[in-house]
């Protein structure tokens, strides 16, 4: 089954910039369906980014985060080839996890495009 997580982590010197896109409805609980019933809230609560066994970034999300959430951040201390583990858990107990490789800034654009599709 394909992952709901797409990550692009690029290391440039000591700094790694991470962009992640997660497929998730992020229902706020305020929207009604075609019949007029409220669609219950269903949103990611915690997203954890781990490098070398240490959390480098934790996102705590509420229902006001947009559907198919995108997040970008950057951290120091990683190198090209390192693993970055991304995992999320939502308010219904759903979860997913993905291990991505950190790429170097010189990585040709078309290669990462293909890589992203494979993810």
């Amino acid at each position: 089954m394909a992952s709901t997580i797409r990550v692009r982590a690029v290391a440039s010197g000591d700094n790694t910039e991470v962009q992640a896109l997660v497929q998730h409805p992020m229902d706020s609980g305020f929207v009604k369906d075609a019949k007029g019933n409220l669609i219950p809230p269903h949103h990611i609560e915690v997203v954890e980014f781990v490098h070398s066994g240490k959390a480098v970034f934790t996102a705590l999300w509420g229902p006001a985060v947009a559907k198919d959430p995108y997040v970008k951040f950057s951290f120091k201390g990683a190198q090209k080839g390192d693993d970055l583990t991304v995992s999320w858990v939502d308010n219904e107990g759903g979860s997913d996890s993905l291990v991505a490789k950190i790429l170097s800034a010189a990585w040709p654009a078309w290669r990462w495009l293909c890589g992203c599709l494979v993810h």
Binding site: F30, V50, A64, A66, K67, Y70, K76, V89
Partner: protein, 166 residues
């Protein structure tokens, strides 16, 4: 089927030793995998339920940080003047403050103002980009916790089509 008792003495000992080694290593491997996976898994217990349930901006800040925020020009909030689609409003919070440990974003006019919060461990930059839902035209507030104190910056974002489906 081979039973240990059927093997001659020396082979039996070697067989049992091998079996023990395989079982021990698989247990060890499983335990290691479990801790590695547990360490990597997102922990739902970290989610600040109280803060996300608050209905006013001031209550949400109090529930999240326990203190008041001071406006600072060292907190930068990039957000559009006009959001064409209230369901997807891109924002970026960054700060030049030292020792940033946390960043949070609130949308004052949303039913629950706290939109998102981020834990920034040492070594991670004080910058985050995200996309929010805004119910209507509202002030968007960025909070940055630096060295134990909380600083804020805000911007009014006009919303033409509300992001809450209404």
């Amino acid at each position: 089927m081979i039973f240990a008792k059927d093997l001659p003495g020396r082979t039996r000992r070697r067989f049992l030793k091998g079996l023990l080694a395989v079982v021990a290593s698989s247990l060890g491997l499983r335990a290691w995998l479990k801790t590695a996976r547990a360490a990597a898994a997102a922990d739902v217990a970290k989610w600040p339920k109280e803060a996300f349930a608050q209905k006013t901006e001031a209550d949400a800040i109090k529930a999240l940080y326990g203190k008041e925020a001071e406006v600072s020009d060292k907190v930068r909030l990039d957000a559009p003047e006009i959001a064409e689609n209230g369901a997807v409003v891109p924002i970026t919070v960054s700060s030049a403050l030292p020792d940033v440990t946390s960043i949070a974003v609130l949308v004052s006019e949303n039913p629950f103002p706290l939109a998102s919060a981020y834990t920034i461990p040492p070594g991670t930059s004080a910058m985050v980009s995200n996309r929010l839902k805004m119910a209507k035209t509202s002030k968007v507030v960025a909070l940055v916790e630096s060295a134990g104190k909380v600083y804020s910056a805000s911007k009014e974002v006009k919303v033409t089509v509300g992001g809450c489906g209404g």
